[in-house]
């Protein structure tokens, strides 16, 4: 399909690239412990970008039998209004694409019955008389093909599976929600599911007792899930797009030590076993890891082809595109690599399984009074890139004299991500994947906690 489309574009435009993707999903859902539905979804789409008269245009279609001439016509019409961009499509790779397993037979071949079995396992293990358990199991198969008129081609098949568990406990007017997930390219085994169960149980059990929240500027342990509010400003500020637009506070800071020296963050599309991993990006750029922050120093910003051309640099292979619209910058796997005080690096365990660490990742022993934050409400709203955040807690625990004393409600935490990451009080021993991000818990000092 890609070849036919590019052939059809030849002669009518200066250059073009395209992506074709076919996705097939199978999902089962359990509501309140009961299997309620099974579904499939099939979708195929084609996205074309052209340079015509030096201007950029795009078009996409989900039509079952796309008409290449019609799509090229629509992309050219789009280019008539488009900006002038000096975009160079990468030519065929001189060396073979990096070899990265993205397709796992076990996942691809898993039957509906197997997906249902996994869901049932979780329902049974998580059942408690006073709790409602919702489970979803979703398996995805995707075929991707990319190509351009400079001769580059790439194709790969990928599998992905997501298992989510939501446990809700309502007692009077108190609503407690604990959520966890397994996301991987390969099927979880029973030990992985057991890890998920115990992770939910640990947090649920510690939450049963409600205690008064503290207030003031306090030490707060952000769990890998709770860390989202702190990471999001960095993700936005490290995008080459916001740098170009002048809205990134990190623009012009490459090479400066702005963070704790133990902090390194990579974008790594070559992490084995992750659904976001891939040998080539959606613009025919071979994948490689990018050091966003290395030992506290601002490293590279991430770029796609267009923003790289505008910034007069190279794409980092972070081009992502859907069926409609033009390619944009997207992260693949965000990986925290924490060094210790001696400068040594802790290895990142890429596998999913492993023991269930204690709540707080071993960081609470020295906390006299503080919080463990596992979930904040409203992350991503407000003025994210500025770094300041302020959110009520969704799920948080009070720590007193080195021990978790219970769950706190009706409290809000606030701080500035850039300021807080200047000094990390400690890195937890509980590193894990959450979606496409791997991180341990981080102890951050001086976080504002307000209570009613």
């Amino acid at each position: 399909m890609i070849d036919r489309l590019l052939e059809s574009a030849r002669g009518k435009v200066d250059g073009a690239d395209a992506l074709w993707r076919r996705e097939e999903q199978t999902a089962v859902t359990f509501e309140s412990g009961r299997l309620k539905s099974a579904g499939i979804s099939e979708e195929a789409g084609l996205n074309l970008r052209v340079l015509a008269g030096g201007r950029l245009g795009v078009a996409g279609t989900t039509a079952a039998k796309p008409d290449p001439a019609e799509l090229v016509g629509r992309a050219r019409a789009s280019a008539e209004l488009g900006e002038v961009v000096e975009l160079a499509f990468p030519s065929a790779a001189a060396t073979a694409l990096p070899r990265i397993p993205t397709f796992f037979d076990r996942t691809a071949n898993a039957s509906l019955a197997e997906l249902i079995r996994m869901g049932r396992f979780l329902v049974e293990r998580l059942a408690r008389p006073d709790c409602q358990v919702n489970i979803s199991v979703q398996r995805e198969l995707a075929d991707t093909a990319v190509g351009n008129t400079a001769g580059a081609r790439g194709e790969y098949r990928a599998t992905g599976i997501g298992v989510t568990a939501d446990v809700t406990r309502i007692a009077g007017d108190d609503v407690l929600m604990v959520y966890d997930q397994y996301v991987g390219a390969d099927l979880p085994n029973d030990a992985d599911l057991e890890t998920l169960v115990r992770s939910v149980e640990t947090r649920l059990t510690a939450a049963l007792k409600i205690v008064a929240p503290p207030d003031g500027a306090l030490p707060v342990v952000f769990t890998p899930a709770g860390l989202a509010a702190v990471v999001l400003p960095l993700e936005q500020a490290l995008s080459g797009k916001t740098v170009l637009q002048g809205s990134s506070p990190l623009a012009g800071k490459v090479g400066e030590t702005l963070f704790d020296e133990r902090l390194s963050i990579f974008d790594d599309p070559l992490t084995p076993g992750r659904p976001a991993s891939r040998p080539i990006d959606d613009e025919c750029v071979p994948s490689r890891a990018t050091g966003l922050v290395e030992n506290g120093v601002v490293g590279r910003f991430v770029y796609d082809l267009e923003t790289a051309a505008r910034a007069k640099t190279q794409s980092t292979g972070n081009g992502r595109r859907g069926v409609f619209g033009k390619p944009h910058i997207g992260y693949t796997n965000i990986v925290f690599r924490m060094g210790d005080r001696a400068g040594a690096r802790h290895g990142v365990p890429y596998g999913h399984a492993g023991g269930v660490p204690l709540l707080g990742g071993g960081l609470i022993a020295d906390i006299q009074d503080g919080l463990i934050v596992d979930d904040l409400i409203g992350v991503g709203q407000g003025n994210v890139i500025g770094g300041a955040f302020s959110h009520p807690v969704g799920l948080a625990y009070r720590v007193q004299r080195g021990e978790v004393t219970g769950r706190v409600k009706d409290a809000a935490v606030a701080g500035n991500a850039y300021e807080l990451l200047k000094r990390i009080g400690g890195c937890g021993n509980d590193g894990r994947w959450l979606g496409a991000r791997w991180s341990p818990s981080l102890l951050l000092e001086g976080v504002s906690v307000a209570r009613r």
Partner: protein, 459 residues
């Protein structure tokens, strides 16, 4: 198309079958700063089949290739058969509906050249950039669509709906040294080209606000009396209460049902809340929901008492209530789930004014505009676009980073004054739930006073 769907329904071996087919024509223009990002025209189409069998659960299939329709009806049946249920799923009675519902296009967007749409957005985007050198970046977008939706089920419902939509949004980003602030304007309507003209002033105002916020102090965290402006009050009722009134939250959960018992007092007698999918000309308005049930005005809180909730046919049957026309899907890629439409706080006493709300507040916060909101059932967060301190009964200095955190029950009960200045806030964006985002909804409210609410921030 209806006949083709009816034929496929006839072939279905399942007890209940429904098919939804959509064809959406859309165009989009986006600016980032002075640069055009994209100007595109797209066509998206696909189908959705859902079936039910006695003693079994839902079987669902969605697909982009309509040639596959008969095969997908069969697949959905097989999937349903694979889901064994002891307690059967029942669907509440919903009288079969037939007909065409064509909403007013108010300037068919399909007849307007893409270059005209670019010009319009360029004007709004340019208006923001011209406000000040401190406006370093903008994100502006125009998107329109005309969606044709066919819905046929095995109980005799057969509908064709034409649903237009147009959204113009702009974010102005102001920066001075390390300080970055934003202002956001968004207009979203279930209408067409004529309805999004002449809004330059609105975009200028938000850009100026982004600049003003650069010098504004952060609000000091703590508990205050808070007045919400119309927009934020609307987001508040949607987030804090609306989601709890969606019956899929309670229908399988005895504890939740107890918490949300009809007849329970939720607020003072001044509080009246409802959801009206049948209101004329709003973005959340539809003649029929995605199960073919006609939409309606559903009272949720009357004089402080919980009196209703929002239903799909499944949740209504389970609770022995009537469907309310709130089963909605964002596209053929998704099943219908219980969603809001146009949710509102009804105006207070006629003639009640803002000045009546603020007069006796010594120290408080006037929270305005909405960057967004999220709910975790009893707890919620909403982020105001900007705010002012209230001092001695008057609006005082501009403050930023106004985030309200709250507990639903306490907060609703603390609403003690509601003004008479009701407006619908027709914004773009939409509501997200169960992986379905953005669903077009509208919120409406007058100015609302909360006796005491928690504002996050430095302490």
């Amino acid at each position: 198309m209806k006949d083709r769907l009816a034929e496929s329904i006839k072939q279905s071996r399942a007890d209940y079958t429904e098919i939804r087919v959509e064809r959406t024509w859309s165009s989009a223009v986006a600016f980032r700063g002075r640069r055009l990002e994209t100007a595109t025209v797209s066509e998206d189409q696909g189908g959705f089949v859902r079936v039910l069998n006695p003693g079994h659960g839902w079987g669902i299939a969605s697909f982009t290739s309509l040639d596959e329709l008969p095969a997908m009806v069969q697949r959905a049946h097989e999937l349903s058969q694979a889901v064994r249920l002891d307690e059967p799923i029942r669907l509440a009675e919903s009288a079969p509906q037939t007909g065409d519902a064509v909403l007013e296009l108010d300037g068919d967007v399909r007849g307007v050249a893409l270059s005209e749409k670019k010009k319009l957005l360029d004007r709004y985007n340019g208006a923001m950039l011209a406000v000040s050198n401190a406006i370093v970046d903008t994100q502006s977008s125009y998107r329109d669509e005309v969606s044709e939706v066919w819905y046929v089920n095995s109980e005799g419902t057969s509908l064709y709906q034409l649903r237009p939509e147009v959204v113009v949004s702009g974010t102005a980003i102001g920066r001075r040294n390390g300080t970055i602030e934003k202002g956001l304007e968004s207009i979203g309507l279930r209408k067409g080209w004529n309805s999004v003209q002449n809004y330059e002033d609105k975009f200028r105002v938000v850009a100026q606000r982004a600049v003003d916020l650069l010098d504004a102090p952060r609000v000091r965290g703590g508990a205050y009396p808070v007045i919400l402006d119309n927009e934020l009050a609307g987001v508040f009722i949607h987030e804090a209460f609306g989601h709890l009134s969606e019956a899929d939250f309670v229908y399988e959960n005895p504890q939740a049902r107890e918490m949300m018992t009809l007849g329970r007092r939720f607020g003072k007698p001044v509080l009246n809340v409802g959801d009206n999918g049948a209101a004329t000309g709003l973005r959340g308005t539809l003649p029929y929901d995605d199960e073919g049930t006609p939409t309606q005005d559903t009272p949720l809180i009357r004089e402080g008492i919980l009196v209703g909730r929002l239903h799909s046919r499944e949740t209504a049957a389970k609770l022995g209530e009537r469907p309310t026309g709130n089963a909605r899907a964002i596209s053929f890629r998704h099943p219908p789930i219980v969603r809001m439409t146009n949710t509102y706080i009804a105006p207070g006493k006629k003639g009640a004014q803002f000045s009546d709300l603020i007069g006796d507040i010594k120290l408080g916060v006037y929270a305005c505009g909405a960057f967004g909101g999220q709910t975790m059932l009893e707890n919620f967060s909403f982020t105001a676009g900007w705010g002012y301190m209230i001092r001695d009964g008057k609006v005082a200095e501009l403050v930023k980073d106004v985030v309200l955190a709250g507990n639903l029950f306490e907060t609703l009960d603390r609403i003690d004054h509601i003004a008479g200045d009701f407006t619908w806030n027709q914004m773009g964006g939409g509501c997200g739930k169960g992986g379905q985002f953005p669903l077009p909804v509208t919120e409406g409210a007058p100015h609302v006073r909360i006796e005491e609410a928690l504002i996050g921030g430095d302490v």
